[in-house]
Amino acid sequence: MRARSYFVGAAFALLAGGMAHSALAQDIKIGEINSYSLLPAFTEPYRKGWQLAVEEINAAGGINGKKLVVISKDDGGKPADAQTAANELVSSEGVAMLAGTFLSNIGLAVSDFANQKKVFFLAAEPLTDAITWSKGNKYTFRLRPSNYMQAAMLVEAAAKLPAKRWATIAPNYEYGQSAVAVFKKLMSEKRPDIQWVDEQWPPQGKIDAGPVVQAVAAANPEAILNVTFGADLVKLVREGNTRGLFKGREVVSFLTGEPEYLDPLKDETPEGWIVTGYPWYSIKTPEHDAFLKAYQAKYNDYPRLGSIVGYQTIKSAAAILAKAGSTDPEKLIAAAEGLSMPSPFGEITFRKIDHQSTLGAYVGKTALKDGKGVMVDSSYKKGADYLPSDAEVAKLRPKD
């Protein structure tokens, strides 16, 4: 019986939702896809971020006088479903461009779809280097700093550490693999004296943290690179704290300073890790203040990094659409290449050479404050400073 009433209730919700969707023909539509049901911890703040952006854009008169409408779809974390959604957005809804995605393989699937169907695609979150380099195509742009850029930012700090014996812990899939590979390569270039003494590859989402922590400790490294995040990170940190893995060892960690991953750790936050992240509480720039104020006023909650990504994805899309003055994909590409625009992190540019934005990230150290994890001593690293030379990029990317 319970099942039945849920079903009926949900059916009504669907009807209501369907009606809210209806948009006028002269509106400009953006099709947005993300893993809402699979990764709610990231995508909820992300959604709030882009909804705020849509509101701001339309309050300021829309795009060249036309109202902006974002039609959002869930991909359930599956590349095949993301393509179905992309197809619906393009074929049925007639959107001017696609945007969004979180997981790297989904980003790649949608980017391949965009290339095939000649649709503009602004990838929001996927970190894989392949999306702008080895599998890059002319229809795809990417907002977030890539794996390579984040690794380069961390290496800059890590290379200054005296540690010579390093171990790595990374989830066993493309993101973890390429993060470790780039970090090792850049690190060994700067510090040829470094030894890599152990590597652990727990399956994503299924870390058996006890044995992993023991195994790393047994190799007796002086420093550890961590790439795990989410629930895996929680388990790793808890086991590591209890077993004293982090005592007297430097830890460098991808993404751990993002509120999505740092906040759940509460009073177990390990101190002194060098991390990339988003210390919203200590950024004091006019751009960010404006964003923070608007976000907190609308949602009565603090922003996560996902909020920034969602907000800036739609802001960027709007800037591209406004400059192009058209929804023709070729004109959108021409408008986007080299386009600079403001963001809560300062001005960013979509590079012509590989369609990567120069959005950067904050690098700092973790600390405990009032029983909560925070990032301290953080500084903003501009994305443009952490990309390889144009000649190298040209070699990495296939010709259009």
């Binding site: 019986m1 319970r2 099942a3 039945r4 079903f7 949900a10 939702g17 049901s37 699979l38 911890a41 909820e44 779809k73 869930d74 359930g76 599956k78 590349p79 095949a80 479903d81 393509q83 179905t84 959604a85 197809n87 619906e88 049925s92 790297s104 393989n105 790649l108 699937a109 391949d112 095939q116 392949a130 599998k135 066993n172 899939y173 493309e174 693999q177 590597e199 652990q200 590859w201 727990p202 399956p203 989402g205 299924k206 058996d208 943290a209 006890g210 044995p211 023991q214 195994a215 400790a217 047994a218 629930a231 929680v234 388990k235 808890r238 209890t242 077993r243 999505e260 906040d263 759940p264």
Partner: protein, 629 residues
Amino acid sequence: MAFYVVQFLTGLASAASLFLVASGLSIIFGVTRIVNFAHGAFYMIGAYIAFTLTERLSGAFGFWGGIVLAALAVAVIGVIVEMVLLRRIYHAPELFQLLATFGLTLMVEDLVVLIWGPDDLVGRRAPGFRGAIDFFGQNIPSYDLFLIVLGPVVLGILWLLFQRTRWGVLVRAATQDRDMVAALGVNQKWLFTSVFAVGVFLAALGGALQIPRDAVHHAMDLRTIVEVFVVVVIGGLGSIVGAFVAAVLVSELNAFGILIFPKISIILVFLVMAVVLIVRPWGLFGKPEAAARRTPGLTVNPWRPLTSNERLAALAALLVAAMLPLFAGNYLLTVGSEIAIFVIFAVSLHFLMSVGGLASFGHAAYFGLGAYGVAFLAKMAGLPMIVCLLLGPLLGCMGAAVFGFFAVQLSGVYFAMLTLAFAQIVWSIAFQWVSVTGGDNGILGIWPEKWAASPSHFYWLALGVAASVTIALRAMVFSPFGYALRATRDSLLRSEAIGIDAKRIQWTAFVIAGTTAGIGGALFAYLKGSVFPDNLGISLSVDALVMVLLGGVETVSGAVIGAIVYKALNIWLVSQTDLSKLVLGGFIMLIVVVFPKGIVGMLEMLAQRRRKSSPPGSPLLAKPIESAE
């Protein structure tokens, strides 16, 4: 040396948490024969409720009390589920209960996010077990020691319960032969309910005890359920000691395996299961399953080819489907192609399950192999599309020939689990062999050639292949081979007595089903333009099972309807709502209760009822149906 001791103890602690959940699943399966897919969901709810309680209640008593209260509360939920949902469907065809528990799992995944929010929750540490104990310079968390003790204690309590109480005697008797227990006048209803409650209690306790170690989040269930199932099967279904030994075995192999092969965890349990099942077909401590007493409905309601009127109706339906491009847009046509491809996939599994009586839990392996076959041929050899489509499925065929050979040596759930193990092994190869398969970033850019590129042309292609495949498999059902296959399904002993080489027939059926799935996969690669390890994954295998069960496992072609309904609904819901799992799960549970024989199975039964009420009728046909109920 101290390191190895500590690593061993760490493995034991992992084993203890695994065992708690696995023992519950094992008991439930042993007695009720339910493949309880929702066991992971109960584990997850246990963790969530324990989180809430331990945050609210203070002090040591609050923590431990909260853990136990949470497990009890979930046990009550389990009792409600059993009484309201499962009781109605114990007499449905085998595995149908899987569908119900799958629907429940889907709903729970969305419900916990609605109730507890999207963030990962990190609970309190256990009072008195916060720190670690120093062992020759190595730290052992005291909570690990607590778990190491708890595992055997629970094992001991369960052993006493089963050996020393009347309830335990009944449970053991039912595990051995539940029909006999029923015949002796034991109230099965309450026995099943109580067993289900105990099993769910253990699952929830296992979940609640993760609070001090883990983060509580909405994907805990799937992370757990497959691994726990594997442990139960390695140990031998229904054997508590087996589950314990298997949990220790798997955990220790993992703890020491990662020292040599750091990437082993992703596949280890499945490797162990495959080896164990090939060497010991009933798991380490399991006993051969007693010859199942078949649901009479299967054998006395004989299948027949379509009458000429029905053939005309099917042809008309096909024609209507073929006219879709006249009025539908590109999006609908692409969805239509996807549904047609899933019809191929579903009928291939249906052939194996319904005609052969062999339920595969890893059928996506052959679908995915077909897709990868196409990807290799198109991207590496650069062959034209039509050649790829013809040759790609051969990879599925080869996979099925190799794995099928081992799988058909087993039967029932052991067969299902071995197919699952093989599928996971194939999946992990696709996932890990980055230089060839591209790893989880897949292979991109496999788009159809011009003649098939337009959505309407591709739709006609997919529809044509789906129709041909369905017709071919139907023809096979009514061929001598089909009769032989059905004979091995209905009675292995009798069929062998009349000279049917059962294993060879089943192996052939496995290869046919695998190749057919490969055809679906080959088309799928062109539809999506890319191939990912997802195409071989567990969730796709489960989708296929759901489609077959939804259509009706006792029908000749129910999977066609099951695939259309499930896939269309799934695509529509995902597009319309973020709560698609909640609605879809609710819908599946509704179907299970209203149509306990599947959609087509129920329609056929209604049609037969009508025939029965019309005057002379065939008494032979009508009576057994009642006994089947």
